[in-house]
């Protein structure tokens, strides 16, 4: 899907790789973004053992296109930890597959002032140890 890029300089608190949600953090090794999907067709994130739409339990991670739009965002200016490079953009991206299917992420490869609601974005992964963080950048940067 897209290349894995080198991590930025800012230290991050990495996610625990857990049984029910680890796929979200590790599938980037293969360049894919996995989102839980139910047999009823609905996507769901963060993962749950039962579908919030139909109540069924036939849920499994499924590849998605890794495209979406910025639903909302914030440019963080506060250095919460030593060594943290600011500003950076924290955002909710609505994935193309379903309305209100949101993932939290950073918008990268883009000046904070160039980010706006509705901006089309695509995933790229940033590797840290055993996790591949799904980041998003403006679509069509090549």
């Amino acid at each position: 899907m897209t290349a894995v890029v080198q991590p930025g300089l800012a230290p991050r608190q990495l996610p625990a790789v857990e049984r029910d949600s680890g796929f979200y953090w590790t599938a980037g090794e293969k360049g894919i973004l996995l989102i839980q999907r139910c047999a009823c067709g609905s996507y769901n994130h963060p993962p749950l053992p039962r579908c919030p739409f139909c109540g069924g339990d036939a849920l499994a991670p499924e590849p998605v296109a890794g495209r979406g739009r910025v639903a909302t965002f914030t440019a963080n200016h506060q250095p919460w930890r030593r060594g943290m490079a600011v500003p950076y953009v924290f955002a909710a991206v609505e994935l193309a597959e379903q309305a209100e299917l949101y993932v939290m992420t950073n918008i990268v490869d883009c000046a904070p002032e160039a980010v706006s609601i509705g901006l089309p974005v695509e995933v790229q992964f940033e590797r840290h140890d055993d996790v591949w963080l799904p980041m998003f950048r403006p679509r069509g940067l090549g």
């Binding site: 800012a10 996610p15 625990a16 914030t74 440019a75 506060q78 924290f90 939290m104 950073n106 996790v131």
Partner: protein
């Protein structure tokens, strides 16, 4: 059916001195607040037969909840038949809701509810080696890896979406902070008492756009205690109690990283619906409001959820501060709220509601205040409509 909250009244309220940091320990501050509430009610320690707190002792060193009910029971000599606390539930007010149930069920006559924070002391302590915390789990997992370190980052998402959808401006949002600081200047127990102007607000640094420094509440050391009593007993006490006209509870997925809608509403809607379904009073009957302001944007979102103004209209409602001032149609956060009085974490709002309804607001008293709406929460949602008896 008699709603449980109608069988319960507030008979006492106490608050410790505020500190940043305090010279007193968190447990001392808690006992100060409890003593004050008991004296305020004209009761004795021996009469208190229930004890609860939100959220119960937290193991971390951040000072978020340094004191548990067990310590208070032992240190005070209280002999409650029921003690309980939970981090789960409808946010800050969950302990008040539990106390209401303990009384309405007949288990208790008088329940002490307290909330203690020592976040200023925790932050004044020498920091560790600056190492990163362990891996993020649960809700933090979905935000911390993206350096959304503070709830400010989460609620900034809501502020951005709200601004964009309704055309709200920084100067409108800033009216919340300016109003709070003015109210705090009239409150001797507020931590920040020097008034600020809207120009000061607009010149303050951005924390997480569009939220600025003055949009974020401030950590303190302090404790608040609220005493609830069975209605029939309360009616026999020397002072008219505060009646709980209605309560409302709501809970959504923010606490586990799940967002629905377009980021312009909180799941507080459910709390508001429940509250208004349990009373004949209407939003227009509210004389004064104490609305959660851990971040200023939460106040706007709560005001709309509660029906105090129309959808998308809260920013214009507060603009300039006249309508939310002491002489306005809806005096708001008259203690200075968490933005300026300090993060008593929800309980400062309920305490202030009691002062206003008992006419003890002194320089910040809202004339003729008979009803006060209190709302708490960013991740879990609770509201009380209180009425002077």
């Amino acid at each position: 059916m008699v709603h449980p909250e109608k069988q319960v009244c507030i008979t006492g309220a106490g608050q410790s001195t505020v500190g940043r940091p305090s010279l007193r320990t968190a447990l001392q501050l808690t006992l100060d607040a409890c003593d004050s509430a008991i004296a305020d009610a004209g009761l004795t320690l021996a009469e208190i037969d229930g004890l609860t707190t939100f959220p119960g002792p937290a193991g971390d060193a951040g000072g978020f909840s340094p004191v548990g009910a067990t310590e208070v029971m032992i240190a005070s000599g209280m002999k409650p038949v029921w003690v309980g606390a939970s981090t789960e539930g409808h946010g800050h007010m969950s302990a008040i809701f539990s106390a209401i149930q303990a009384i309405a069920s007949g288990l208790c006559r008088h329940v002490m509810v307290f909330r203690t924070v020592a976040e200023a002391t925790a932050r004044a302590a020498p920091r560790g080696g600056g190492g990163l915390p362990a891996r993020a789990t649960r809700a933090n997992m979905w935000s911390a890896p993206f350096n959304a370190v503070s709830p400010a980052n989460i609620y900034a998402l809501y502020a951005t979406a709200y601004f964009a959808k309704y055309g709200a401006t920084a100067a409108q949002l800033g009216a919340i902070a300016v109003n709070s600081r003015h109210m705090a200047s009239l409150n001797p127990n507020a931590i920040y008492r020097t008034p600020i102007s809207i120009e000061d607000y607009l010149a303050s640094r951005v924390i997480s756009s569009p939220l600025r420094l003055y949009d974020c509440d401030t950590h303190i050391d302090g404790s608040t205690a609220i005493l609830l009593s069975r209605r029939d007993i309360a009616m026999e006490m020397a002072r008219s109690p505060i009646e709980i006209e209605a309560m409302g509870m709501g809970l959504g997925g923010l606490g586990i990283g799940r967002h629905v809608g377009d980021f312009t509403q909180l799941p507080a809607e459910a709390a508001a619906r429940m509250l208004w379904s349990r009373t004949d009073l209407k939003p227009r009957d509210v004389d004064v409001a104490q609305i959660y302001d851990g971040f200023s944007i939460l106040t706007l979102l709560w005001m709309e959820s509660l029906g105090l103004c129309g959808r998308g209209e809260a920013a214009a409602f507060v603009e300039g501060g006249v309508r939310i001032g002491l002489d306005g149609e809806l005096p708001l956060n008259t203690s200075g709220g968490q933005l300026s009085a300090g993060r008593f974490h929800g309980y400062g709002h309920t305490y202030e509601a009691c002062l206003q309804l008992w006419g003890k607001g002194a320089a910040r008293q809202v004339k003729g205040a008979r009803t006060c709406l209190v709302a708490n929460g960013g991740y879990g949602y609770g509201a009380l409509l209180l009425k002077r008896g």
